[in-house]
Symmetry: C2
Subunit: 213 residues, 2 copies
DNA sequence: AAAAAATTGTCAAATTTTTATCAATAAATT
DNA sequence: AATTTATTGATAAAAATTTGACAATTTTTT
């Protein structure tokens, strides 16, 4: 089905999906590549070519059917599944992620939150009890989560990743500063390096300031 | 000084910086493009070309001096400044960002946190009092923050952005689902679309699963 | 001090990504 | 029912990005 799909295309899919869901909510049932391009600040050509990696979802003279296209993209991304997920680290960030993210709408099923600091263990977060990291092995053997969200400090990451891989974890949504590349180059990981983003923001602000003196 | 620097290069700079700071911490004072490439999973050629956009920081036969190079990149990114920043939204995410991020090490000075829900107003977060959104105008006129971190719901974003722009805010670190493109195409914004990232992660897991049956 | 090894910065080639073009076809209009 | 308009999917062209190659130069070794 899918042609040779580049990472650039994949990275754009969630944004397409976001816009399409928004259209659906607003009762817009039809959109042309040109119309979408204008809203998104892209070229119509790029949108058509992106979508065509996965199939001809449009119709000449008409455009794209919004609900149909959003369904197709959801299918491509795989967000209609329920992949078991656990969070490691119930600090500020871990708790915020667990309450803030709609895991269930985005392909996952959050089934456990683990924390090293015993003081936090037992607290309820988003309807789930914070569990002691000491029970991680047993929990994983029982409930077989497939992915882990890393909200732990950088220096605890390597040990945790090694342990989790042994327990059958297949991928990581990584909020830690740890870089998988060196030791785990082939493990599926999606990084959210907030510090990198903040630095990029810093550069943008500086650049904007310099160009608008 | 800087040649025509592409966005691709800029996006890689924070990661270079992260690795260099790590080297410094570990007492590594010298690194070649080849050595760095191996650690980072890039090509030596790319690293040399990236750095050369900003100047010849290396030395033939020797490589790059780690502290010097990290200083240079910090300078390029502008993280040695202290740009005044406020956070809008003291929900789970806003509070997590304010406590979790080292704003001071990354070019910013967090001076205020604002929240609509009066129940939260007055709480202390990371040494700062959560202020009522009703005092935003006055605060901005007094303290002149230059950037805002948006941790508010999508449907409150547009109004807030309009207000903040009038108050002199120059850029946004945007955690909301709101997309600036349509209404504010020229405003400096760095998006952290966590949902997009989670969807991308979902795709990666699915793809990995399909290739490793 | 000379020779060998290491490594950069630059230029050119290769590859990837984006954009433009256009025939084909469906929808809308007359 | 015929004509015009809109719009896709595909192909080709253009632009951007990445990689390879190598002279120049410094460091290290002998």
């Amino acid at each position: 089905m899918a042609k040779n799909v580049s990472q650039s295309v994949i990275k754009r899919l969630p944004r397409y999906y976001r816009f399409l869901i928004d259209f659906e909510k607003n009762g817009i049932s039809r959109i042309s590549s040109g119309g979408l391009a204008e809203k998104m600040g892209l070229t119509a050509s790029q949108i058509r070519q992106d979508l065509n990696c996965f199939g001809g979802f449009g119709q000449q003279g008409y455009g794209y059917n919004v609900p149909e296209l959003s369904r197709e993209i959801a299918e491509i991304l795989g967000i209609n599944r329920r992949v078991g997920a656990i969070i490691l680290g119930a600090g500020n960030l871990g708790r915020a992620i667990s309450t803030h993210m709609s895991f269930e709408k985005l392909g996952f099923n959050l089934i456990g939150i683990f924390e090293k600091k015993e003081a936090i263990v037992g607290q309820m977060v988003n309807g789930l009890p914070v569990r002691s990291i000491s029970g991680l092995d047993e929990f994983c053997r029982s409930y077989k989560p497939q992915v882990a969200v890393l909200c732990i400090p950088q220096d605890e990451a390597e040990k945790a990743i090694t342990q989790l891989l042994k327990l059958g974890i297949k991928g990581f949504w990584n909020f830690s500063h740890y870089d998988f590349n060196e030791k785990f180059p082939d493990v599926p990981v999606e990084n959210v390096h907030l510090s990198d983003s903040l630095m990029t923001f810093c550069y943008k602000i500086k650049e904007y300031g310099e160009n608008n003196k």
